[in-house]
């Protein structure tokens, strides 16, 4: 199945996966951070590598990337990207006084971030699994803090032979803590292999 030739119905399916996944993510984040987290309407787009990098704020934007592999019925990758501020907020909520800054990523903050990545990725993967009845496993997240361009090039290179297109979901979370609200955005890249994308569509009764 070709990402570039998706019709509007197929894109609506992806959008719905994005909506449900983002809703799940807000619920999980709220439990994880023990404070109310609200979410705006997520944006779901099919973009190529350059557009993804621009949407993240340019190639040299410092970001934290978490990469997970999809296994079982659906094969591919899912990548969770967040700005330093989001990482900072999550880590200070989780670790309290133990946490100083995110400039040096020590072992404890790295594993806390991996847990955040795991929760976020599972939110989207569960959305697909619930809708389609397919079984999907995710691998342990691998973490990297670097330039957005260098992080996103990893799935771009891996799938270069298959497609230049990436499913890009942008989320705006609002952490509603006592009297001050804070906005945080994160981005999810979903790259199911093309026959897996086909499986998702056919399980939902969409013709391809």
């Amino acid at each position: 199945m070709d990402y570039e030739k998706m019709d509007s119905l197929q894109i609506d399916v992806l959008r719905e996966i994005g909506n449900i996944g983002s809703g799940n993510a807000a619920t999980s984040l709220s439990e994880f951070l023990s404070c109310p987290v609200n979410i705006g309407v997520p944006s779901v787009q099919i973009l190529d590598y350059d557009q993804v990098v621009e949407a993240l704020g340019g190639p040299e934007t410092m970001m934290v990337g978490l990469l997970l592999q999809l296994e079982d019925d659906i094969k591919g990758m899912i990548m969770f990207l967040l700005h330093k501020e989001f990482a900072h907020m999550a880590l200070s909520a989780l670790m309290g006084d133990m946490y100083n800054s995110f400039d040096e990523m020590d072992e404890i903050s790295a594993s806390a971030m991996q847990e955040v990545g795991n929760i976020m990725a599972a939110s989207y993967v569960n959305a697909i699994a619930e809708m389609t009845g397919l079984s999907i496993n995710i691998s342990v997240p691998s973490i990297c803090m670097d330039m957005a361009g260098a992080i996103v090039s990893v799935p771009a290179v891996y799938y270069a032979d298959i497609s230049d297109k990436i499913i890009f979901i942008g989320d705006d979370f609002v952490r509603d803590d006592d009297h001050h609200a804070a906005n945080f955005n994160s981005h999810i890249l979903m790259i199911p292999e093309s026959d897996s994308l086909e499986k998702i569509m056919t399980s939902l009764g969409i013709e391809i």
Partner: protein, 162 residues
Amino acid sequence: MSKTVTVGISDLNVVKAPDTLVTYALGSCVGICMYDPVTKVAGLSHIMLPSSSLTGSDPKQTMRFANTAIPMLLKKMESAGAQRPRIKAKIAGGAQMFAATGNSAISNIGQRNVAAVKQALAALRIPIIADDTGKNYGRTLYLTAEDGVMRIKSVNRGEWTY
């Protein structure tokens, strides 16, 4: 007035002094700088993958692979007046951005890119005089045509030159 020309991913370009070439955020990709100090012709290629057995003429595809992009860059430099025996190369990138993904095709792509670049340059008898490849961080790379200096910028480790 000198200008800075950006080279995207799977892209290449050639400039003359006093201009500068830049390619942003190399991860596992490799940036290949080639320079003729006499004519001050500078070329930069940003490859994504090691090699292609494809013989198609789509330029976007040609610029994506080490084994096809490097000969194309050389040709372009020669058309701009560079002489092959004087051209030397400096290379950077080929990092492993994510450790232990459990997928060896992802973890060693940088290494395979570097090996393919070295092979392609050796086949053209272009010597490599600076090599800043591997490790685990992203690099932005500048090549100034005035002096052939390659400058590398990282987010966590500062800047340095070759």
